[in-house]
């Protein structure tokens, strides 16, 4: 077991990247970057991390440069959020399609307009279909651990797909939490140096990124989807190996007091911590409520989610992102799709909360559970409900 210390979560993520011995980092300070890349720059400057740090002129170039470093076989990392991620949009699909195992932390923050530097999950939800493996961390320790796991998942020869670890902006990225940091020796044993499959090497010329005509495009996309769906098993393997090595257990979906719950709160990310307090209080008051939290978002853990909400009457899904003019929040949409084929399934309600840095309070969870109870009695009234909005 590693040393237990207090650390800002961003700095702990940098520590994980250092322990992973990243070879190359390309990043851009869009309004504002997190401390992750600042710390990594310092580590490189102090020769604590032997890496090329490319301070590019935009997020678009950050991901482009990452494609270049990954294509020659360098273990590659970047971090971003909100507008920066949006500017990367085009490159995210290409990095995934080229099967370049880049790892990225997103400190999830709101998208403009209006301009907001504060937290929600609108940024990553807009990139839902970009083809990356995507994970959500709840705690700082989880952010650290998943960062180590992400390299191992992305670089696995069965996967070769870039991977995102989401950490909530500010509520996770900028807070100090207790950590068990692991030793270099242990991390090296868990995560050996990256052995790339195909690289740009004059001795073995390859063409990467050709034109795909209609005769072949569909097949390549199918192949890509099979790799990401297949990554589920690799995620399980990596989590198992991680537990064996470091003693902390992770699953694609976490449940908390959900087994016998009538109403389940479905939420991703750090605010699940607040939900836990609310659930404990409601349980003390005799309400059968629980939490189901997807840690793995892509590939979507269909069977885990079906099993996790089985037996519940209602699921209150909390989304920190809004599909404007659509069915509410993306986590809710996904759960509805996941449950639709089942003959018996709970009622799924979509709640939008915590947009642009608005707090989600314990009382808000009481409200959501209460509203779910009402819908269970009287039926649907709205496609979604927005919590705490002043109208």
């Amino acid at each position: 077991m590693g040393e237990r210390i207090g650390l800002e979560v961003s700095l702990a993520v940098s520590e994980a990247v250092k322990l992973a011995r990243a070879d190359a980092i390309a990043a851009y300070p869009i309004t504002p970057q997190t401390h992750i890349v600042e710390e990594l720059a310092q580590m490189v400057a102090d020769d604590d991390l032997d890496a090329e740090f490319i301070m590019v002129e935009s997020e678009h170039s950050a991901m482009s440069a990452c494609c270049g470093t990954a294509a020659v076989g360098a273990r590659t990392y970047t971090a971003t959020s909100s507008q920066g991620l949006a500017l990367m949009h085009e490159m995210l699909f290409i990095a995934a399609g080229l099967r370049l195992p880049i790892c990225m932390t997103i400190a999830n923050r709101a998208l403009s307009a209006p301009l907001s530097i504060w937290g929600d999950q609108s940024d990553v939800m807009a990139e839902r279909d970009c083809g990356w493996i995507q994970l959500f961390a709840e705690t700082g320790q989880e952010a650290f651990d998943l960062t180590l796991c992400s390299f191992k998942i992305a670089e696995d020869k069965r996967v070769l797909t870039p991977t995102i670890v989401n950490i909530d902006g500010f509520t996770l990225s900028h807070v100090v939490e207790p950590f068990e940091l692991e030793s270099q020796e242990d991390v090296d044993a868990f995560l050996p140096a990256y052995e790339p499959q195909t690289i740009l090497d004059p001795a073995h010329p390859v063409t990467i990124g050709p034109v795909g005509f209609p005769e072949i495009y569909t097949e390549i996309k199918k192949q890509q989807d099979m790799a990401v769906i297949g990554a589920y098993d690799v995620v399980l393997e990596v989590f198992a190996e991680f537990e064996k090595k470091f003693g902390r257990a992770y699953k694609p979906v976490e449940s908390y007091r959900a087994e016998d719950a009538d109403i389940i709160i479905n939420i991703a990310g750090a605010v699940a911590g607040t939900a836990r307090i609310a659930v404990d209080r409601m349980r003390d008051e005799g309400k059968k409520v629980g939490i189901v939290r997807p840690r793995l978002w892509r590939p979507y853990p269909f069977e885990d989610m079906r099993a996790a909400v089985k037996g519940a009457k209602g699921v209150a899904v909390v989304d920190r992102a809004l599909s404007v003019g659509g069915p509410g929040g993306p986590i809710a949409s996904e759960l509805r799709s996941c449950l639709y084929p089942l003959a018996e399934k709970p009622v799924v309600l979509s709640f939008i909360a915590g947009l642009g840095g608005r707090d989600i309070t314990i009382e808000d969870f009481y409200t959501m559970v209460r509203e779910t109870e009402e819908v269970l009695e009287t039926g649907y009234t709205d496609e979604y409900k927005m919590i705490g909005v002043r109208e």
Binding site: A24, G68, I94, P205, F213
Partner: protein, 312 residues
């Protein structure tokens, strides 16, 4: 007669290797494909190519075919310089850590058209030049978005008719002047940049050699006549390049460590009208409009000659 002799012995001096293979899908008489052929003859096999989206990318990489006998990556349209930055930096660190399989010097070459350089790729180019990566950027300038259907770019010359700057009752065609990309690149104070044209193969190849040998970012701006977009005969690309240079429309020069040198000062330049005549894109221009272009070319040429004299 002298020309005929050259035609006999010069090809024997050149490496016979063709790293951009025959049989690609370029248009007949493509000047840009000719430019690449010359660049990569010089660069040789220890080269990695980072290509922008564009004519050269499309014609050389229709999966599962490839014309590339050297490692080649295409990522997107606007980022050839950023991808090359990553390739260069990645190789540097992996070599340092002993994890790159190749010990010797590797040329990292970014290639992009005028749209991918002067318009959408300008930011990535500027960033890569400023950061000082050891790579060579080759802009093959055919003066419009030819691959997508001859739309104007900021490198399209004044008066040229394209599908998005069409000539018309109330339009002369392109109303703006060609963006002076080599001048913008020179403002980054990189160690070496040059203009070149495949109609002058030895000049282009010597400049390629120089650009690759110099440490740090280097830039070649290669005028690449395009029969499809310029609407001249398909056997005229080489002739068009010569006319562009001989008229002073596209002067050949290089800037090394800030010093500009004219590679060819032409005393009796051909007229702009002569250069424009074989090209359908200029066919609508009236003599007085061509005269205006002539004046500008004269002015620009004189400026360059004067600058070269000062720097000498």
């Amino acid at each position: 007669m002298a020309e005929n002799k050259s035609a006999e012995f010069i090809p024997r001096l050149l490496p016979p290797r063709e790293l951009v293979a025959e049989g690609h899908r370029g248009c007949q008489g493509c000047g840009e494909a000719l430019a690449l052929r010359q660049v990569f003859k010089v660069a040789g096999p220890n080269t990695i190519v980072c290509s922008a989206t564009g004519c050269m990318e499309i014609i050389t990489s229709p999966y599962p075919e490839t014309a590339w006998r050297i490692p080649w990556i295409h990522v997107a349209f606007e980022n050839a310089a950023a991808v090359a930055s990553g390739v260069e930096a990645g190789i540097k660190i992996l070599k340092k850590k002993g994890r790159y399989p190749h010990d010797g010097k590797i040329n990292v070459i970014a290639i992009a058209g005028d749209g991918g350089t002067a318009d959408i790729g300008l930011q990535a180019l500027s960033g890569a030049l400023e950061r000082g990566h050891n790579f060579t950027y080759v802009c093959t300038d055919n003066e419009a978005y030819m691959n997508t259907g001859i739309q104007r770019s900021s490198a399209t010359p004044y008066g040229a008719s394209t599908t998005t700057s069409p000539k018309g009752k109330d339009s002369i065609g392109q109303t703006t002047q060609k963006k002076n990309l080599p001048k913008i690149v020179a403002a980054h104070d990189i160690p070496y940049l040059a203009t070149a044209c495949p109609s002058y193969p030895l000049d282009l190849m010597n400049k390629t050699r120089k650009a690759l040998d110099i440490e740090g970012p280097t830039y070649l701006h290669v005028l690449s006549p395009c029969p499809t977009g310029w609407r001249h005969d398909i056997d005229m690309a080489v002739e068009m390049g010569r006319l562009a240079v001989e008229s002073g429309v596209f002067p050949l020069y290089e800037v090394e460590n800030g010093k500009l040198k004219m590679n060819m000062v032409i005393e009796n330049r051909k007229s702009v009208a002569e250069y424009m005549k074989p090209q359908g894109r200029f066919r609508h221009l009236k003599p007085e409009e061509i005269e205006k272009v002539q004046e500008r070319v004269d002015e620009h040429y004189a400026e360059l000659v004067e600058r070269a004299e000062c720097d000498a």
